[in-house]
């Protein structure tokens, strides 16, 4: 009897807390969501306004005008072109290089594991600092890479400050920093593949190139897709490497979305145009990230099913 009376309130207590517990626990995440959504909708509003920090009195709604202006604005099309070129080049090279390295390091040996950990170092370097490192190496006066270029017969190579080589230079820095990411993901993928198909192919004497195209690649596809989507989403938004290297220059050679939006906001104080640019970038990344998240969840599900 006495135990029963003690138990009863306890049970009720537990019920109440159980009902509100999830909300208490996830409150920070919820607040965070609101904290992101408020600035986001503010940005949407800015993008529909004529809003210059230098002329606050002239601020007014102009609805789609910022977006409509893009249609005839060569600077916008340049931004789109530069961003897509950058994303395409970086991810393309990183994918090929990352896959190649992952295949080289596929066997679980002590040496291979050591190398793969060493190769993570560029990825641990802050992209902005990586740009500074390469800036020191490509300095036309004393940079070691500029010197090597002269050995190859290329005199007076100006790297990032020359319009014709600026893109190549920042792409090299991006490749240096992010290839290890693709490598580590593909290496994990390669090592998680089931052994049987490869052993069967080996027994039957199937040529290795055939094995690669018909067994390895198809089985690796979910990993390739995850890595590529993740990198494209990040690469199309790249800011650190480009800003630290040239601040978007020379001229408008490297004014990718975020750099252009940053310059619009802080230099020409054109908040409306800056916000509209970011909205377009957001739309691109939103579509890509929805595909990415679905794909990634499926991959994770599979990994947990096996483990």
């Amino acid at each position: 009897m006495s135990t029963h009376t003690v138990d009863a309130p306890k049970k009720r207590n537990f019920k109440i807390s159980k009902r509100y517990l999830p909300y208490v626990l996830s409150l920070p995440a919820l607040l965070m969501c609101i904290g992101i959504l408020i600035p986001f909708f503010t940005a949407v509003a800015y993008s529909l306004q004529r809003y210059r920090l230098s002329q606050p009195w002239a601020r007014k709604w102009n609805w789609g005008e910022n977006y409509l202006n893009f249609m005839t604005d060569p600077a916008f099309w340049n931004t789109l072109k530069v961003s897509l070129t950058y994303a395409f080049l970086t991810v393309g090279v990183e994918l090929l290089l990352g896959l190649g390295i992952a295949l080289l390091l596929q066997k679980r040996t002590r040496f291979n594991n050591f190398v793969s950990i060493m190769l993570l170092m560029p990825l641990m370097t802050a992209p902005a600092l990586a740009s500074l490192m390469w800036k020191l190496m490509t300095n036309p006066g004393f940079g070691v890479l500029s010197y090597w270029a002269t050995l190859l017969g290329i005199e007076d190579m100006k790297w990032a400050s020359d319009p014709s080589t600026a893109m190549m230079t920042v792409v090299i820095v991006d490749v240096w920093v992010y290839t290890p990411f693709i490598m580590i993901l593909l290496l994990a993928g390669l090592r998680s593949l089931p052994r049987q198909p490869f052993e069967a192919a080996e027994l039957d004497g199937v040529p290795r190139l055939f094995v690669f195209w018909k067994i390895t690649l198809p089985m690796l596809t979910p990993f390739l897709l995850t890595a590529v989507l993740f990198r494209v989403i990040e690469s199309i938004q790249q800011f650190d490497i480009i800003y630290a290297m040239t601040q978007g220059g020379p001229g408008d050679k490297l004014t990718v979305f975020q750099v252009e939006a940053y310059l619009n906001f802080f230099q020409s104080t054109n908040v409306g145009r800056s916000a509209a640019l970011l909205m377009i970038l957001w739309l691109i990344t939103y579509i890509l990230s929805t595909i990415f998240i679905k794909n990634w969840l499926r991959l994770r599900e599979r990994a947990r099913g096996e483990g």
């Binding site: 537990f14 517990l21 626990l25 996830s26 409150l27 920070p28 995440a29 965070m32 969501c33 992101i36 408020i38 600035p39 503010t42 940005a43 800015y46 290089l97 080289l104 190398v115 060493m118 993570l120 170092m121 641990m124 370097t125 802050a126 992209p127 902005a128 600092l129 990586a130 500074l132 490192m133 800036k135 020191l136 190496m137 300095n139 004393f142 010197y147 990411f181 580590i184 993901l185 994990a188 993928g189 998680s192 080996e202 990993f223 995850t226 990040e234 800011f239 650190d240 630290a244 975020q258 906001f265 800056s274 916000a275 909205m279 957001w282 990230s289 998240i293 990634w296 994770r300 990994a303």
Partner: protein
Amino acid sequence: MHKASVLERTLRGIALTLVIFFFMFPIFWIFLMSFQTNETILRVPPSMIFEPTLTNYRSLISGTLEGSTATLEIRFMSNLYNSLFLSVTSVTVGLLLGVPAAYAFAKLKFRGSEDIAFTLLSFRFAPPLLVLLPLTIYFQKIGLADTYLGLIWVYQLIVLPLILWIVRGYFEDIPSDIEYAHRIAGHGFWSTFTKIALPLAGPGIAAAGLLAFIFAWNNFIFALVLASADKQPVTVGALAFITASGINYGQIAAGIMLSIAPTFALALYAQRYLVEGLSLGAVKG
């Protein structure tokens, strides 16, 4: 398995050497540069033979730059301190807020949980400036502009989604039976959470915390937009330092080495967690 021919092994060796060279050389070269004075740095052709000197590190640490005309004060060490402070506090805050939330998302399915989780994750991939630019205007209004508090808050944008999603996966892997057994033995929710769930998800929390620290340390754009000189971390400080110090290349190199050393050390120390975190939970190490 396959017996590699001599030719194949040679080709693989060459390829691997080139790869290691490309990825390691910049770090190696800047490391060498950090022990040189301008005199040896500016030599043509560049050479690896020089008399190493510690003056670059010494002047960075003491905070005075001996220029040709005057002595300049540099705040590089305070940048380094800012980086450490911002990263440690924002990861701590992120873990305190994120781990319980991750548990709620994983184990106590409730209305709206998937929507919150998805929104957070999809904004993890949104352009940071989209949120940052309106925030600069808000922060100026509510007095959070250029404060550590404001920066730590904004750093949660990177730290929290990462922790939530990595740790959530680990909580989901814990069989509910274990927790029920503990509950039936008369223990409450809190005890189950701290005695059963937290230890079992330990590796995931470590991986998420480590990765969050590295992302916070390496962040550039948040502080560039929101922090003034005395609150800036090394990533932004180093860029300003280049313009300020002009042509003191050895010091710039030394500054870069000091700025990347902490993340390198962490990565080497906790490589297992790092690989696990980096493969996005796609593979269990």
